[in-house]
């Protein structure tokens, strides 16, 4: 990524600093606005309130515009920028378990998204909201974050293998 902007030695220092500053700004804004992705859909379905949902949609649009702007400013900063054009319509970015078929990624996206939605509603917010609530002093959210940390370890130790086994037995 970001090839040619700055030297590697400078990037080693600059990237953590910029990440820290961005995290500070995002945390401040999230606390002030009560921003929540799952809360947006929840409020829309329950009360037809669109305040939080508009936040999520504007974040999506801003992400696209920012990617496009950086892509136009520095060609090659994002190697695969319109992912859909460079890598095919149904290929997945790294992040999910690797080396699976397209059908498997669609199933995983549906199941994973469904799970995030259900758990998010029952626990009162998406991960970012949980972090903000934990900082506000909500003990329940601290437990949620602890569970997230343990859950990701368990996922890489056990669940990846189980998921691959189930998918291969289903034949996808």
């Amino acid at each position: 990524m970001a090839a040619g902007w700055i030297s590697k030695e400078l990037a080693v220092i600059l990237v953590p600093v910029i990440t820290l500053i961005s995290g500070f700004i995002i945390g401040y804004l999230a606390q002030r606005t009560g921003f929540c992705a799952i809360g947006g859909f929840r409020d829309y379905f329950m009360f037809r309130h669109t305040r939080l949902l508009l936040g999520f949609i504007s974040m999506l649009c801003t992400a696209f515009v920012a990617f496009l702007a950086f892509h136009l400013l520095t060609p090659g900063a994002f190697e695969h920028f319109p992912w859909i054009l460079s890598s095919g319509i149904l290929s997945s970015m790294p992040g999910a378990p690797p080396d699976l078929s397209t059908t498997a990624y669609i199933i995983l996206a549906l199941v994973g998204g469904f799970g995030i939605g259900v758990i998010g509603v029952y626990s009162g917010g998406c991960p970012l909201r949980q972090f903000v609530m934990a900082s506000e002093g909500n003990l329940k959210s601290v437990w949620f974050i602890a569970g997230m940390a343990v859950g990701s370890v368990v996922f890489y130790l056990a669940t990846t293998g189980v998921v691959k086994m189930i998918l291969s037995s289903l034949g996808v």
């Binding site: 695969h80 997945s92 509603v121």
Partner: protein, 50 residues
């Protein structure tokens, strides 16, 4: 958060991925919407019975 890793993204990363032009993220966001709707329906129903 096993489900999040299954999908490879929390809602924010899903939005960023969709902004990057990836179609799987859109399917994931649709899954999130379906999950929220189902959970709300279940909660409403359990409250209605009580």
């Amino acid at each position: 958060m096993q489900f999040g890793l299954l999908f490879g993204a929390c809602p924010y990363r899903a939005a960023l991925r969709l902004g990057y032009g990836e179609f799987i993220a859109l399917i994931g966001i649709l899954g999130i919407i379906a999950g929220v709707w189902c959970a709300l329906t279940m909660i409403m129903r359990s409250r209605g019975e009580n």
